[in-house]
């Protein structure tokens, strides 16, 4: 492709010929872009599966009685809904974005360890299928919630060794291994492979946040995995680490679990902060306000995230001094987070806004995130938390984060980079319909969970007192709307990918290395590696980003 024959030039202009065909996506490819899309598409499959579980749950909760499904089935559903949403959807979809975008954004040809990358990805369908297959296990899938707290999680009424909880623990451990492989790869890539001229303060915010998130994986996952393995031994091989009747401590498990699983929420939200930081400047046509503060605050969040886990255990066997200490550290995290929010608002302020679908999702996500942050502070305050923890208030809070901010952010990212990834434009009309349905569904589904939680409705219940019925009906209607909202999205993505208009290299007139290469990029990304000379986000300034690639 280096000699300038007419054929080669035509290939350059219509890079579709070098686009991997659909079979590539089922193969053991080591191209980070193929792997990235593999991750994203697989994750969306699990999103739909876990979403169907959510629909059945909301169906059950539309009336106070436990009438739609048996209580054991309900318990299995919320356990698998939560687990698959986290391990099968959120982590993989974000790993997909990191995989696809990081090498392009830092001007590299691939990840540091392409084969490791492929292995890490192929573990996702494996453990994902394992989660789903556990419905066939004797006694059914795990039923003790995604926390899997002992002693409930080690009660094994089926009496069989290969029970649902066992499969669940194996799948979670596999997911941990896959994530560690991914994290090693991504961190190494970012630290070692940034192109010439890309100093730390010339690196895009998304890359920073991905690195921050992956550092958390590296220090947190070992704790989770240790806890899971010990629990597996308790469940199946007669050890008593967590068995209180034999002197073990169930609270110890909670420490193991939350030492990872609190920081894990930052593994999910940080890359979304990165997406916001990329999207707002493009559609407001202004530089990211306070870029340096924004990236530094990510690292401060990483540090603080390691010392807040006990806020999930305020009502547990936690002594008062610990309650107070962790209340303070938790509240402190709102400072670097608030800095980011203000920076985005200042970026938007006085810009030249274009409300394309990705911008709508980013704006909606930002507003939802602010709301979730406020209820988060309430939960950090020990006296308030004592009232509302383990109620629907918490469920409302974390769905505002997880759906309102993280899923919105992911949608924003999908629309923004869709032309780059597929070489096609999506249908803006369907995108807007998708946004409005999602916004309406999210509000109607998750807002009512707050009042009903304040009234005292516990979470994880298959039935409830009639006084809670009103808000639950609203939430269920919202849930069904939310379920439907994915239909225009899927239609749009599949339809545009097959049939959409050809996308130019840079449809949004965005600044960034990934927009300097054709859509979709060729196999090795860059013919000639870029040499960066400017800070990112130079909107309104007419300086070139690189000295050799134009743009």
């Amino acid at each position: 492709m280096t000699q300038a024959s007419p054929e080669a030039l035509r290939d350059r202009e219509y890079p579709l010929t070098s686009l991997p065909n659909w079979r590539t996506f089922f193969s053991f490819s080591t191209d980070h872009k193929v792997i990235g899309i593999q991750y994203i598409v697989t994750a969306f499959f699990f999103f739909v599966v876990a979403g169907i579980f959510a629909m059945i749950m909301r169906g059950e909760l539309i009336t106070p009685e436990p009438d739609l499904v048996d209580r054991t089935v309900y318990n299995a559903l919320f356990t698998m809904h939560g687990t698959i949403m986290l391990f099968g959807w959120t982590f993989p979809v974000l790993a997909g974005f990191a995989n696809y975008l990081v090498p392009l954004m830092i001007g590299a040809r691939d990840m540091a360890f392409p084969r490791l990358n492929a292995v890490a990805f192929w573990m996702v369908p494996v453990f994902g299928i394992l989660f789903i297959l556990s419905f066939l296990a004797p006694g059914g899938p795990a039923q003790s919630g995604w926390w899997s707290y002992p002693p409930v999680s080690v009660q094994n009424p089926s009496g069989v060794l290969l029970n649902g909880e066992f499969l669940w623990l194996v799948a979670v451990a596999l997911s941990g291994v896959s994530s560690i492989m991914g994290a090693v790869n991504i961190v190494t890539t970012i630290v070692r492979m940034r192109c010439e001229g890309m100093g730390w303060f010339k690196t895009p915010a998304f890359v920073w946040t991905v690195m921050a998130a992956q550092i958390i994986q590296l220090f947190g996952l070992p704790a989770l995995t240790a806890g899971a393995v010990m629990l597996l031994f308790d469940l199946s091989f007669g050890t008593t680490f967590f068995d209180p009747s034999q002197g073990g401590s169930p609270v110890l498990y909670q420490h193991f679990f939350w030492f990872y699983s609190h920081p894990a929420v930052y593994v999910m939200i940080l890359p979304v902060f990165g997406i916001f930081s990329e999207v707002f400047p493009v559609y407001a046509r202004k530089p990211l306000f306070g870029y340096k503060v924004v990236v530094i605050s990510s690292m401060i969040i990483v540090a603080l995230s390691a010392v807040v886990w006990v806020h999930h255990m305020f009502a547990s066997g936690t002594p008062p001094w610990m309650r107070m200490l962790f209340m303070f550290s938790t509240m402190l995290i709102s400072v670097p987070t608030g800095i980011k929010v203000f920076a985005w608002v200042a970026t938007i302020w006085g810009g030249k806004l274009r409300l394309d679908t990705s911008m709508l999702f980013a704006l909606g996500g930002l507003v939802n995130f602010v709301f979730a942050g406020i209820t988060g502070i309430m939960l950090a305050s020990v006296p308030v938390d004592i009232h509302v923890n383990n109620t629907y208030f918490v469920v409302g809070h974390f769905h505002y984060v997880i759906y309102g901010a993280i899923v919105f952010g992911i949608y924003s990212g999908v629309y923004h980079w869709f032309p780059k990834m597929t070489g096609k434009m999506y249908y803006e009309g369907l995108g807007k319909l998708h946004f409005w349905l999602t916004m309406l569904g999210t509000t109607l589904n998750f807002l009512p969970m707050h009042p009903v939680g304040l009234m005292g409705m516990p979470r994880r219940v298959a039935s409830y007192d009639p006084e809670f019925a009103f808000w639950n009906v609203l939430a269920s209607i919202g849930g069904f709307i939310l379920g439907m909202s994915t239909i225009p999205f899927l239609l749009n993505m599949i339809g545009s990918w097959i049939n959409g208009e050809q996308a130019p290299a840079n449809p949004w007139r965005a600044i960034g290395l990934e927009w300097l290469v054709p859509s979709p990029p060729e196999h090795e990304n860059f013919e000639e590696l870029p040499v960066v000379v400017a800070e990112p986000y130079g909107y309104g300034k007419s300086e070139p980003l690189t000295e050799n690639l134009g743009g």
Binding site: P287, A315, I374, V384, H387
Partner: protein
Amino acid sequence: MKPKTVISLGIMAIALAVLSYFVGQWSYSWLPPQASAESILVDKLFSTLVAIGTFILLGVTGVITFSILFHRAGRYDTSDGPPIEGNTTVEIVWTVIPFLTVIYLAYFSYQTYQAMNIQAPGHMHGAIDPVEKMADTSATTPMTNIEVEGKQWAWTFRYPEKNVTSTELHLPVDQRAHFVLRSPDVIHGFYIPAFRVKQDIIPFEDTDFEFTPIREGKYRLRDSMFSGTYFAAMQADVVVESQEEFQDWLNNAARQTPTPAPNQAASEYARRQQKDEQFGWKTVPPAPAPMVNFHS
């Protein structure tokens, strides 16, 4: 900034503050009746958090909405906005203000928690309670330990001095109540929304707990920590009554011979065993119905 901008910003901020104050007051009505001394403390804190939260939420969304309405690019306008990259003063201000707010909220929460004085696992009396004296809740001497047992899936309450057991929790109004919480199987959560109190019960560990009911009536006690199949059915009534009514009830109950109490988990389980009509999986069988002097 021009004086005109300063004035209009000031007016907006004041309007927002007033509105936030009213939302904070409104928030009391989102909560169950205030049936314990602790609930008054918690609600005040919650209301403050709601007011501050409203201010922030409306402030941020207001600015965003304003931008969306008035800073849109025209249809054919491809120009860029002003390339403003940062402003050190602004950045310092919006770091310091949240920081101070957080310190204030943490301190307020700390004080509230101390004043509630609900006890907790590993609580050492006098260890960290400089503000305990201001606790209006510790005015009365706590009544004797009421033993609370949560098991899969029933609550029982035992009054040791009369050797009374009950599936309904009876408490005299305006008297501080002291509990010992126990569980023989899994973690349960002792939670009475109207009292704003909650405490997990770690199995095989005695957990002390205290609060003061201040309003007569009937309230709901729920298990708040997922405890297995019939978790949702694990509820009980809490009756707060006058000192005399309470004593009558206690004496009356003491005269009854214990009988098995009705239990939702047990009856659902039995029905399920019989007709196996629903799609479901094996479950831990409910513990036998508790033998109590009193049940509702």
